[in-house]
């Protein structure tokens, strides 16, 4: 992937409001995000010849609604780990000429349609013992991290507190009321050691990201944001328990991070803001260790004292993340990376922001490093 350094640019981003919208479906939300992204970059809609749909029921219906006849179409499942994978796929398509302008579209109507995670009707292997839900898998991992490294739930609370503070500065965020470490400790337990404030939100919304080659990007409305580095590693061979890894996807995150850093020619100390997939707060600790922002087992201490907050050493999830902004499954975090590099983030803007990293530490770990064009 090294040859793709700075070859592909994000030129347009579009989001919707976030909340509960029973009156509109996923296609309607995605169409709004698409229109906003087209307006954001000023591209002629009919030039878009690449379409990737994620969590949208039918790519064909989506294309029909938007009046698109692409040369390149991909449909991805409604899993949280897809955004980084989608961006890598789009880069390959643009570099090979399979498409010239790619729109990545994601929509989620989980709130208004009462989507539940856990207790699915399709019987799972662990159901008879009462084990279910991605949250329980992360609770299991956090307990292991606590046992192995002495991490505390108080330290974990720093993650939720930091992201909620950022959400309080973000007009679109779903949960804006600031919280304290004591609020985190007193929140309703769901699957201990995790509590309510360790869980992502579930809300409706949609995101669109438009990419093109760096050359074509110069002709569009806003300064392009370049994709300088990407890295990837999946972990399927140890995935007997869904959303769980007994080693916190450490080696996968390390490998994906190192590949992205090498390609971009930067290291963790160059990162001005981190956009970290936060389905559950422990994922942030695992990501920080895997990427090398701190040593193995040291993430609990690392996040203390507001280090992840704006003004701290490593402003992370400046939009509030999945915990407090919006459950857009990584997609909105990539949009926030772009907006930070463009300087569009108002009260939550990171000063002098030049390098932003996205990471999703999951069974499909991806990292993307964005820089100013």
């Amino acid at each position: 992937m090294l040859i793709l350094k700075n070859k592909v640019a994000v030129v347009g981003v579009g989001t919707t409001a976030y909340g509960s919208f029973p009156e509109i479906d996923d296609y309607g939300l995605a169409a709004r995000a698409f229109r906003n992204a087209v307006e954001d970059c000023g591209v002629d809609k009919d030039k878009i010849d690449g379409l990737l749909c994620c969590r949208i029921p039918s790519y064909a219906r989506m294309g029909e609604i938007l009046g698109l006849d692409p040369r390149w179409t991909i449909h991805m499942p409604p899993h949280g780990r897809m955004s980084g994978m989608a961006i890598v796929e789009a880069m390959l398509a643009l570099e090979t000429g399979a498409a010239d302008y790619v729109a990545l579209l994601y929509a989620n109507i989980g709130r208004s349609r009462r989507v539940n995670y856990g207790g699915e009707e399709l019987a799972g292997i662990w159901d008879p013992w009462g084990f279910t839900s991605p949250g329980a898998a992360h609770a299991m991992m956090l307990r292991m991290h606590m046992e192995r490294f002495g991490t505390t739930t108080r330290q974990l609370g720093e993650v939720s507190v930091a992201f909620r503070r950022h959400a309080s500065l973000h007009p679109d965020a779903v949960m804006k009321k600031p919280i304290t470490l004591d609020d985190h400790a007193a929140a309703r337990p769901i699957v201990e050691p995790l509590r309510l404030l360790d869980y992502c939100l579930i809300n409706d919304g949609a995101v669109c990201i438009i990419l093109t080659t760096a050359d074509r990007a110069r002709d569009l409305r806003k300064p392009p944001v370049l994709i300088s580095g990407v890295g990837a590693r999946d972990a399927f061979s140890r995935s007997a328990i869904s959303n769980f890894d007994a080693d916190f996807w450490y080696s996968e995150t390390r490998e994906a991070g190192e590949a992205a850093y090498r390609m971009a020619g930067v290291g963790p100390s160059d990162v001005d803001a981190l956009m970290c997939y936060d389905n559950f707060s422990p994922t942030v600790l695992f990501s920080l260790e895997g990427l090398g922002f701190c040593g193995r087992g040291e993430a609990g201490a690392f996040v203390e004292g507001g280090r992840l907050q704006l003004g701290g050493d490593l402003p992370t999830n400046t939009d509030g993340g999945h915990l407090s902004n919006s459950y857009m499954q990584g997609w909105a975090l990539n949009v926030e990376a772009v907006r930070q590099l463009r300087g569009e983030c108002g009260e939550r803007q990171v000063a002098g922001c030049e390098v932003v990293q996205y990471v999703a530490t999951t069974p499909c770990t991806r990292s993307v490093i964005y820089t100013r064009g």
């Binding site: 019987a123 159901d127 013992w129 279910t132 991992m141 046992e147 337990p189």
Partner: protein
């Protein structure tokens, strides 16, 4: 006797031997006849050597506690009366990881590495759940 309302084992045919063995109070994992790799959950081929020549091997029942969580939410109606309830993750002496329950209350001093052994809970006439207790 009231009907059992918790989730029953899935009807995945690959898993049937595991549940049949459990009913006979044997804990078992899939084992590859070609390379002797032991794995669980089972698959149609060995994940190491891809052989289809797989058998079920009764294991010792000895395990070490890896992790544990406490459910405060009942994701199935059948668990409403149980919350909060505990689920443990154990590493079998033979290698594979297994999610299970403690056979009684949570051990007083749970910690990673705590030695456990399997016990069999005949929860209905039709199926038996392997659970774990602290090894003597």
């Amino acid at each position: 006797m009231s009907a059992y309302r918790k989730p029953l084992p899935s009807d995945d045919p690959l898993l049937a031997p595991f549940w049949e063995n459990a009913k006979a109070h044997r804990l078992s994992v899939q084992c590859c006849r070609a390379c002797r790799d032991r794995h669980f959950p089972p698959g149609p081929v060995c994940p190491k050597c891809l052989s289809e020549d797989q058998e079920w091997e009764t294991v010792s029942g000895r395990a070490a506690l890896v992790s544990w969580v406490r459910f405060h939410r009942a994701y199935w109606d059948g668990f409403v009366g149980d919350v909060p309830y505990d689920v443990c993750l154990v590493a079998l002496e033979e290698g594979p990881l297994l999610l299970s329950n403690f056979s009684g209350p949570m051990p007083e001093d749970p910690r990673a590495g705590l030695p456990l052994e399997v016990v069999f809970d005949d929860v209905t006439d039709a199926f038996t759940l392997p659970k774990f207790k602290v090894a003597p």
